[in-house]
Structures are given as C-alpha cells and as structure tokens.
C-alpha cells in the first residue's frame, strides 16, 4: 500500500527517480552494480537525499528481501552507543538473506555521537566488517572522527537546486492532480531552503487546504509553520524589555519544541533584518557566534540564550 505521506509516497525507489545529486548517483550506482560496496559516509544538509540514497541502494541490492537485510538507526534517538552496539550485534549475528554476502546498517545523524561513542563504533565496524556494511549519514563530516572517515567512501550532498525542487514538486502536482502556479513553486523553493523534504511537506500542507496551489496560500502556510516568534523575542529585547523577551523565548522553545541550536540559527539569520546600525549587526553576529559556541560547550542553552538577548537589549540602546 502506498503511503499517504508524500515524502514517503514519492520517495525514489531506484537511481533513475532521483532528481539532483547527479554525480553522487552515478558513482554510487556503479559501486552498487559491481556489488562491491565499501562503508559509505553521506555528508550534507537535511533533505538532500542521504536516507533516500541508502534506501535505494538496499532496494537495488536485495530486491524484495531488502527489509530483512537492512537496519536503520538514528544516532540522535538511540540513547548511547551501548544500544547502538546491542542492536548492531543482534542484527549482524545472523547471515544475510539472498545472494549478497553482507547486510547493511544505516546509521543516520552519526554526527550526534560523541567522539568516544564514535571510537566504539569504529571497533564495531571492524568486528562486523565481514557480515555488514555501514552507511553513515551526517550534516557535517568534520564531526566524524578521522578513523571512521578514512574507512568510508565519502559523498558530499549539496542543497537541491531550484530546478530539481521544481521537478520534484511538479511531478507530485501531476500525480495528485494539483494546479501549482509558477509563483507558488518559487515560494515553496524559497521556503524549503533547498531541503526537498521540507518542500514536499509544505506542498502537502498547502494542498491539504486547497488543490489550487497559488502564491498566497503557500505564503500563509509557510508563515504559519515558521517559528516567527523569534523576531518577536528580538523586538522585545531591542525595545529594552528584557523580561518580556525572555518570557517569549521560553514560550517559543517550549511550545514549538525547538532546541537552543535551532533558536540561535534563527536569530543569526534574523540579525540582518533588524533595524540597527550595520556595525551593530556585525557585533551582534559575533556575540551570536560566541553564544552558539557556548551552547555547545555548556549544559543549559536557555541560560546562554538569555546572555545573548541581554546583548540585544544593549544594541537597542545603540551600544
């Protein structure tokens, strides 16, 4: 049964269905065809096709048996390397089904693992290399320790270009009998920031409201889905009201379940749109960078963010 969630329904099932990432597709396809697959490392932003690539590979390799020979783990969900190891061990213990002599383990968001956990993972990769191939995905390959990187063939996924997103959306539009205007495509692309999953989700949300997808409906859907309150947080701070700003910040973080790092990302982007002097924008960006660093180093992102909005209060005074 086909899924009703479009990101699944229209997920490519073979190499020819993948739009964009042409170079990677070519190289991965030849590796797959030779049945000689090394460990793979997929690096790149969210929604650029890393998980899809892994799924296509296993489907090409194992055909209808793919589910028995494939284990998908998300490193940011599975608590600790211990559980990862446990699951990997259990999975790797039995032989693969079919003609291919190995199974495949896909470890998503591997950069969520601490360096220590990665060291442990490296041993696991070695121990089961005869029966398992690992595919790792990450946003930044710099967060993957060198010994793992050197054991993998690395592929860098780029943000999807507008023409690729357009192809994907139009294809869905035809199959779902939607009427998508060119302007809507433009706005969907901008809203997606090159993240294909997000583009499809935005299209499905819009189509849920109306099969006629035009600019104004898309804009409404996008602005509704955005944590727009970050701007409110900054506006309060600039107006000198630290307490309201702080309250709003906590509110946004709790209600939208967004992490400190996501907040700081939104703040960093928003600085350029603030009504302050250019020199201050640079200063605030510097402080934002420092705060992001401290969030990574510290234990309580909310404290670090308060420290940042205190600087915005000062900026509001022209300092």
């Amino acid at each position: 049964m086909a899924s009703e969630i479009w990101t699944e329904k229209y997920r490519p099932t073979n190499f020819s269905e993948i739009f964009g990432q042409e170079d990677i597709v070519k190289r991965v396809q030849s590796l797959t065809n030779s049945l000689n697959i090394p460990h793979l490392l997929f690096a790149g932003p969210a929604g650029t096709g890393k998980s899809t690539m892994a799924l296509v590979i296993v489907k090409e390799l194992f055909g209808k048996d793919w589910k028995e020979n494939y284990l998908e783990l998300n490193a940011s969900d599975e608590r600790g390397i211990q559980i990862v190891r446990e699951k990997v061990k259990n999975f790797a213990r039995t032989k693969s089904i079919g003609n291919i002599p190995f199974k495949i383990i896909f470890l998503d968001e591997a950069d969520a693992l601490t360096p220590e956990a990665q060291q442990a993972l490296r041993r696991t990769m070695e121990n089961y290399s005869s029966t398992c191939r690992f595919m790792l995905s990450c946003n930044y390959s710099s967060k993957i320790i060198d010994p793992i990187q050197s054991r993998c063939a690395a592929f860098r996924f780029k943000l999807l270009e507008k023409k690729d997103i357009e192809k994907v959306l139009k294809n869905i539009g035809i199959k779902e009998k939607l009427e998508i205007s060119d302007g809507a495509i433009e706005i969907l692309y901008e809203g997606s920031e090159g993240d294909c999953r997000r583009a499809i989700n935005l299209l499905q949300s819009t189509a849920f409201v109306s099969p006629i997808v035009n600019e104004s409906i898309v804009s409404t859907v996008i602005s509704n889905a955005k944590p727009k309150d970050i701007r409110t947080v900054l506006d309060y701070a600039l107006s000198g009201d630290f307490q309201m700003s702080r309250e709003k910040l906590l509110d946004v973080m709790l209600k939208e379940s967004i992490s400190g790092q996501e907040v700081i990302k939104a703040i960093q982007k928003e600085i350029w749109n603030l009504p302050v002097e250019p020199e201050l924008k640079v200063k605030l960006t510097e402080k934002t960078g420092e705060t992001e660093f401290r969030i990574v180093e510290g234990s309580d992102p909310f404290i670090q963010l308060q420290s940042l909005i205190a600087s915005f209060v000062l900026a509001g005074l022209g300092k």
Binding site: S3, E4, I5, T7, E8, A46, S51, L55, E72, N74, S76, D77, D108, E109, A112, R197, R198, N201, L202, Q204, S205, F208, V209, T220, V221, N224, A225, K226, P227, F242, Q243, R246, L250, L254, K255, E256, S257, I258, S259, E262, T291, R294, E297, G298, S299, D300, F302, I303, Q304, Q306, S307, A310, S311, V313, L314, L317, K319
Partner: protein, 401 residues
C-alpha cells in the same frame, strides 16, 4: 595592638576554670589520675559544640603535666593513617613529659571516606599505654555503637546562660571593655549553651560602635536564599561572597536558577550583559565538571555565580531599595509543557520512524506536517492511538488557516 582570639586567650587552663561541667570534670580527673587502672582505656567526651570537650582534654594535660598528641578532623583518618600516625603515638613513651594523652578530636568527622578508620581506632584502644580521650558531638550515632561499648562516655551538657554570662563578664573586666547588661544577656541566651560562640560574639560586639548589632547575625543558622540574593545584588563585591552559598540550604544548581530568574530585576543595560556573561560561564563550568568529573571546577562555578554576578553592577551606582525576589519558574514551566507536549512527542516519534528521520527533526517539522497528519488514512498508517488523534484534531482546529 596584638589581635588575639578571645576563645583561645580565655580557654580554661585548669579544672577549676571550667564552669558548669562539674560531673564531667570529675570523671576526666579520675580517668587520667587512675590510668591505666581504669575500667576502660578510653574516654569519650560528647556533647554539643562549644561546651568544652576539647578544652577538658587540654586541661587534663595541664593538670597532669603531660604531653598531648592530637588527631583531629583535619587529618584524614582512614585505616592507613590511623596506623601510620596514631599507632606510633600510642606505642611510644612521651619524650619530655611524664605522661602522654592521646586526643582524637571530633570523631564524628570520621566518615565514609575514612573507611576502616573507626575499626582501627578501636583496635588501637585495646593496647594503648596512654589514656585516650575522644570527643564527639553525637555519640548515639549508629556507627559509634561499638565505640560506646569499648569506652567510658561522659556527657557534657549545654552551659547555662547565667554561667556563660559570668564568663563573659570576667573576660570584659580583664579586657577593660564595657558592654551593656542587656546585650550581655542577649549574647548569653542566643549562644544556646555554646560558650565558644558566646565569646566570639562578645569579641565582635566589643569592637563595634553599636554592640547590639551583633545580635542580628545568627550563627549556625542557615541563610535563606532571599538574604543571599540581596547580598549578591545589592552589596559591593567582597571576598565573603565566595563562601556565601555554603550557608544557603539549597544546592548550587537551584541557586543558579534563582540568580537567573532575578538578574533582570536588579541589573540593566551593561550590567545585564555582564551578569549573564558570568552566568553563562557558570553553566560552562558546570558542564565541564559533569563531563570530565573534575570537581575543582566547582570553585570557578561558585566564584562566577557569587562574586562574578555581584561585580557586574555599575560601581558608581548604589542598589538601594527593596526588591521582591521571585521564585524560579522555568523548571515548573518546562515540566508543565512536557506534560502538555507528551502526545506531540509520541506522534512525532511514530512519524519519525515512518519517514526515516530523527525524533528531534520530526518535532521541528511538526508545525509543517501537523495539518495533513489529521488525514484519517495517514493516522491509520502511523498507527496513532485515539488520544493522539484527538490531540491532532484539537491542534488543527485551533490553528485553522
């Protein structure tokens, strides 16, 4: 002028100087006189602080012209230490004097860290050739049950306030100072049987222009968080702040939340930035302690949270007036929110598995996808429970485009 500590200067030297502890004095006198023909080889002096336990041991030394060997809480008293330090002392004769008294002070301080120390002490008592005096606050503690059997215990009672007052008057006379009778009475009562505390208060009071001030600060009392915040935010930064939180009966993590909550009530502009910068550093050291299990960092955590926050204020401005400090609310809000978003999380989890993404990412995308998650077909696919479906229903109605 030589600055002397009156508690040392007026520590009793002979049995006759010891006030209001007649029974204990008698027992100590007999013990050291009759040793080693006493029933027990060691004597435990127990009672509240400042009533003369250690003093009595030193008095016994003076009266018998002995030498004293002291082991106190500042020495780590595990089995090895007991053996390497106490054992030779117990076996060796005194070099200069006729007799030697072994004082094991503040035995309450032998803790879990001093594993085996207490057992070793009791073994050493058995063959000691010198009288051993042990002091303790709470002899009825379970860990001392064996010690009670092996030793003779002597209780020192709280010194009554009249006796304390007499001691104080004697000291004032000698120092040629005057303090009003009312203040003396107050100090004596407030000491609650603790002579040392009373003498300390007296010395403080005698050096103040207005001696009645000394009564405001109650010793040994825990400081409440409001007072601590006041000292941090209103006062000038001073070194006493570094140990301020030691007397607050809340863990440092909680104090941190109190400080966080109340910074904006006191500080503005640059002060606000500086104070939060200090707090930000507190947080970083906290994480480092946790990660590296390196507890020395606690010093820095504490310094930034006290002195650091206090010194963030503009030195030219005084923070006067009353501030009504607020209880931290963040943890409560987080807890309430967690309960509210429990369903959202469970839905996001199912969705995440289904579309091959992480839970965190699913939560982040929730706002985008929640509209179409209300489709019955999708809810069936994700195997959502009735509760979860109900949650989504509510969500879309309230967020209708």
């Amino acid at each position: 002028m030589k600055q002397t500590n009156w508690t040392e200067k007026y520590r009793p030297r002979f049995f006759s100087d010891v006030k209001d502890q007649d029974l204990a004095v008698q027992k100590v006198r007999d013990f050291v006189k009759n040793f080693p023909k006493t029933v027990k080889k060691a004597l435990v002096l127990h009672g509240p602080p400042g009533v003369g336990k250690t003093t009595l041991a030193y008095v016994a030394k003076n009266e018998t012209n002995s030498e004293i060997f002291e082991l106190n809480a500042s020495d780590l008293r595990n089995k090895e230490k007991m053996n390497s330090i106490l054992k030779p002392a117990i076996e060796q004769k005194s070099l200069m004097k006729e007799q030697k008294i072994i004082l094991v002070d503040e035995v309450d301080g032998i803790s879990v860290v001093d594993r085996g120390g207490l057992l070793e002490l009791m073994r050493l008592i058995e063959y000691s050739t010198h009288p051993i005096i042990i002091t303790a606050n709470d002899i009825w503690n379970k860990k001392f049950s064996d010690l009670r059997r092996k030793t003779e215990s002597v209780q020192l009672k709280e010194v009554d306030f009249q006796s304390i007052k007499e001691i104080l008057i004697g000291i004032l006379r000698n120092e040629r100072k005057f303090i009003s009778n009312d203040v003396l009475t107050n100090i004596s009562i407030k000491a609650r049987g603790d002579v040392r505390a009373a003498i300390n208060d007296l010395q403080t009071a005698s050096s103040l222009p207005d001696p009645s001030k000394v009564l405001i600060d109650e010793r040994n009392k825990e400081m409440d968080i409001f007072t601590a915040l006041k000292m941090i935010f209103k006062g000038k930064p001073n070194n006493a702040l570094l140990s301020l939180y030691d007397s607050v009966n809340k863990p440092l993590d909680e104090i941190m939340l109190w400080v966080e909550e109340n910074i904006p009530l006191e500080y503005h502009g640059e002060e606000l930035v500086k104070a939060y910068d200090a707090l930000s550093k507190v947080d970083i050291f906290k994480r480092r302690i946790y990660r590296q299990q390196y507890w020395r960092f606690l010093v820095y955590e504490n310094a930034f949270l006290s002195y650091g926050i206090s010194s963030s204020k503009n030195p030219n401005e005084t923070k006067s007036g009353f501030t009504s400090y607020k209880k931290p609310t963040r943890i409560l809000k987080m807890w309430l929110n967690n309960r509210r978003t429990e369903k959202k999380k469970s839905i996001a989890k199912k969705y995440a598995r289904y579309v091959h993404i992480g839970e965190k990412r699913a939560l982040y995308e929730f706002a985008t996808v929640k509209a179409f998650l209300t489709k019955p077909e999708i809810q069936k696919e994700l195997k959502l429970t009735e509760d979860e479906i109900e949650y989504l229903g509510k969500e879309t109605l309230s967020n209708k485009i």
